[in-house]
């Protein structure tokens, strides 16, 4: 007697894969960090250049409430000639030991102690109005409730376009907790520039 090995198929409709099999359930909550009114063209993505990279760190003391399955974020941007689209943008997240960037932050985070890194989504970001821009993840991030969190965004558009605006940020509590690099022709490598321009953000979990 022979058996045919038929795989058991479990419906995945409506489920979003997470970065870990044992993640806190989604609670439809949000955590807002920021609220500043400063602006900079280089924050989140820099439309003046073909390619750009931006990263920021949030402390465990700011990410209150313990573990979270982060399903998306919203970032605050303003001043764009709408609609304005960044094509081929990638968002990644990870736990990080450091609380600030060093003086020469590496584009690839190779100078930091980062773990559990996931690529949350690759998408085209169209800004239709000033305000918080919704970014829903394809892969959720399981925040452990104790580590600092690093988020990076790669703007792989490949062309610059006028009409770009700015990201809004809160200068004071984010000293050296943001970094960026932008250039034409090829995606930036090497080291970027650190600053205090950590974007206003909403974590959805």
């Amino acid at each position: 007697m022979s058996f045919i090995n038929i795989p058991v198929i479990t419906s995945m409709i409506g489920q979003i894969p997470s970065s870990s099999g044992s993640c806190t359930p989604v609670t439809s909550s949000e955590l807002v960090i920021g609220g500043g009114t400063s602006t900079s063209s280089s924050v989140w993505a820099y439309g003046l250049y073909d390619y750009s990279w931006y990263s920021a760190i949030w402390l465990n003391t700011e990410l209150t409430g313990g573990t979270k399955q982060i399903t998306g974020i919203e970032v605050e941007m303003q001043g764009y000639t709408t609609p304005y689209t960044y094509n081929n943008m990638t968002v990644k997240l990870g736990h990080v030991v450091e609380s600030i960037f060093d003086t020469t932050p590496a584009v690839d985070w190779s100078d930091m102690t980062v773990s559990n890194v996931i690529t949350a989504t690759t998408f085209n970001m169209t800004i239709n109005a000033s305000g918080f821009q919704v970014i829903t993840f394809n892969t959720n991030f399981c925040y452990d409730g104790t580590s600092n969190l690093i988020i990076g965004v790669d703007n792989n558009d490949g062309t610059w376009e006028s009409g770009f605006g700015s990201g809004k940020y809160n200068f004071t509590p984010a000293i050296n907790r943001a970094a960026y690099k932008a250039q034409d022709t090829t995606f930036p490598t090497g080291n970027g520039t650190r600053n205090n321009s950590r974007i206003n953000i909403k974590f959805k979990y």
Partner: protein, 73 residues
Amino acid sequence: MVDRENLIIDISAHGSVVYCDENSEVNYVVVMEGVTSNKITLDIIVDGYVSADYGGSSLSTLSNGVYKCDYSK
């Protein structure tokens, strides 16, 4: 208000002007290709026209003959 016409005339002697205008409500952008001068020379020229109206932060780069500057209010 930025004297755009004379700014373009002045910087055209140093390369091809791709963009020279208000980029949004809050910033002014200049982009040039085939630049034959150095960054400081262009920074001084642009600054003379733009900084009075856009006195916030400014950033400029010159790489592979492409000059870009971004002035914010």
